[in-house]
Symmetry: C2
Subunit: 204 residues, 2 copies
């Protein structure tokens, strides 16, 4: 299809598609002479992914490049690729050498600890904030949260598309969108769960 | 203590304290003549709460006023007061008449449904985003997330300070800070739980 048809079927304006082509995040169409190119289903899928990352996850173009580069060239170690892709998502916590709060929490839960995981820095910053506010994470709360969230993570990872002959693209896309777009779902459901429990307690 | 001593013991600069006094979010000190006032422990506690809401939760002054007004005058219905206080926290979803996605999810889980809860609008917007991205919330995922997050909410509400002769201030403060500051903890722990499950699956 032509670029105008690609715009029509994806809902993304031609000027925006040209911008993505210039930025190198959308693969060029097949050339049909000097001023025309032909686009296919792969372009429609890629545009949909870019729009999700831009509009829904709020990712800047540079971060989107990182994610797409990993999808196109995932390398041999899927675990490391997934970690690098998720690290492209906000929040961007300051890198430090040690994360004592996060390390203590993760070790208590018996989970894989790695100071190089971006989420380790994020968790450490979040734990410093609750400490500053006078509501530090107690062991009892950590145990309750840890077991509930591990249960949820088992479900999420169980649903991850297996790497296939097409490569790991579907798995990486699932991990990135599932992380960025499901966090607001988790937060919203947690608030509504609080309201449900509080309603039963306070209103009987 | 004098305002300079209040600044010293709270770590908040005098100019900022004066700004909070002008905005009416910090109660005035007891007058000691035309140019001096005396501040006490209640001022230290209030400043600490304001700083948590400003620095850690990122709340604008107008929203902080709402929260503090509820803490000072909680009314008779604690459930309604808590809901109004939590609604002062971001994200601020657009108000609509119907929230079909959130309503279907909450009803399936058998939780209290109320279209007036701010979190209903937030959840509906989050569910629209995952739908747009092509990874809609399935019933199986909803059931897994719902049960894990309800478990977590039972813990949270169980730790809420009971309303006492001093009023409901401690309960409201706990609910507001526990919501705003523990959401990044939940998100960080979820990402690390994903990495733990993925490490076991992919690295054995």
């Amino acid at each position: 299809m032509r670029i105008s048809e690609l715009a029509g079927s994806s809902g993304v304006p031609v000027a925006t598609i040209k911008y993505y082509l210039r930025e190198g995040i959308l693969q060029p169409g097949e050339s049909r002479g000097a001023t025309q190119a032909d686009y296919g289903d792969a372009h429609v899928r890629r545009l949909r992914l870019i729009r999700s990352l831009v509009d829904l996850a709020g990712l800047p173009i540079a971060r989107i490049k990182t994610v797409l580069e990993l999808i196109d060239h995932p390398g041999d170690d899927l675990f490391e690729t997934l970690g690098t892709a998720i690290a492209a998502l906000p929040p961007y916590a300051p890198e430090r050498v040690e994360y004592p709060r996060a390390e203590a929490a993760v070790r208590r839960l018996g989970w894989t600890y790695d100071g190089g995981f971006a989420a380790t820095a994020q968790l450490d910053a979040a734990l410093a904030a609750v400490e500053d506010a006078g509501i530090p994470l107690t062991d009892a709360r950590l145990d309750a949260y840890g077991s509930a969230l591990h249960h949820l993570a088992e479900f999420d990872v169980g649903e991850m598309p297996a790497p296939s002959s097409d490569g790991a693209a579907a798995a990486i896309e699932y991990a990135v969108l599932g992380t960025a777009l499901y966090e607001p779902v988790v937060v919203g459901l947690r608030r509504l769960a609080h309201q449900d429990v509080a309603a039963r307690l306070l209103r009987g």
